[in-house]
């Protein structure tokens, strides 16, 4: 995908160079069409392709944890305790390991609507200009839909009497999956110095 886009970019650069060096070639109809392709269509496609690749790249776990503030959250994925919800999902491949963050935070910062994208930029500002907060909070709290987009309809989830009794409250976010006392051990980064870690391959 990246290689195709880079080939497309190189082609656009070559065409743009022709029109930079000899703009007079656009006198004929054929060159006019080529100029339209080289200076409008192809560059526009390059923007779309670049945005697509950057968005796909930002969904990768290694992208998320490349920010220093995220390092403890990445570490929490290796906690050797099934009570840690993210660790349990990551270690048992209930979410793709290379897209573990995005799988449960698909509405976070740049992945969400415009307001979230703008908030994502403040995260970058905090990382490189100011200072990230000690504890990272999700504005508005964690949305149950991030759990339900996989668990809703699953037999073991729907068959659980507690889940089925509270289903309406869960779907409307009136009851939180993670902060209503049921699955409340999430990343828990402040306790990472006192827990055991799982090492893959052992």
């Amino acid at each position: 995908m990246t290689q195709i886009l880079i080939s497309q970019i190189i082609l656009s650069i070559v065409l743009a160079c022709i029109f930079l060096i000899r703009p007079s070639v656009t006198k004929t109809v054929g060159w006019k069409i080529l100029a339209f392709i080289g200076l409008c269509v192809l560059p526009a496609l390059c923007i779309v392709g670049g945005m697509n690749i950057h968005m796909q790249r930002s969904e990768q776990t290694k992208f998320c944890i490349s920010c220093h503030a995220m390092a403890p959250y990445a570490r929490s994925l290796y906690v050797d305790d099934p009570g840690y919800i993210p660790a349990q999902h990551f270690q048992n491949h209930r979410v793709p390991a290379d897209r573990a963050c995005y799988a449960c935070h698909a509405d976070y910062s740049i992945y969400g609507p415009l307001k979230d994208k703008m908030r994502g930029l403040t995260r970058i500002y905090m990382q490189y200009v100011s200072k990230p907060p000690a504890t990272i909070q999700i504005p508005g709290g964690y949305d149950n839909n991030q759990c339900l987009h996989c668990h809703a309809g699953a037999r073991d989830f729907e068959g659980n009497a507690i889940h089925s009794a509270a289903m309406d409250a869960l779907k409307s976010n009136q009851m939180s999956c993670i902060s209503s006392g049921c699955h409340d051990t999430v990343h828990n980064v402040t306790a990472l110095d006192h827990v055991k870690f799982w090492r893959p391959g052992q």
């Binding site: 390059c46 690749i53 490349s66 970058i124």
Partner: protein, 72 residues
Amino acid sequence: MTFRNLEFKWLLRASSVLIILGLLVEIASLLWFHPLSFVLFAFAGASLIGLGIVVYLASLVFVASSGSENRE
């Protein structure tokens, strides 16, 4: 060579330069795996390319308007 023709060539050159710079920035952002590469692409690369496209389209409008003036 008329003055308008000369202006059109300069607009085309300006558009080409902006697009080339934007595309080079885009290549750099694609080869650099870093959270800032997205910012580089979105704020520098895409903006330069977008501006280049606008200048090119403006040059087309410029040619079309000068052509219609000549017919009148």
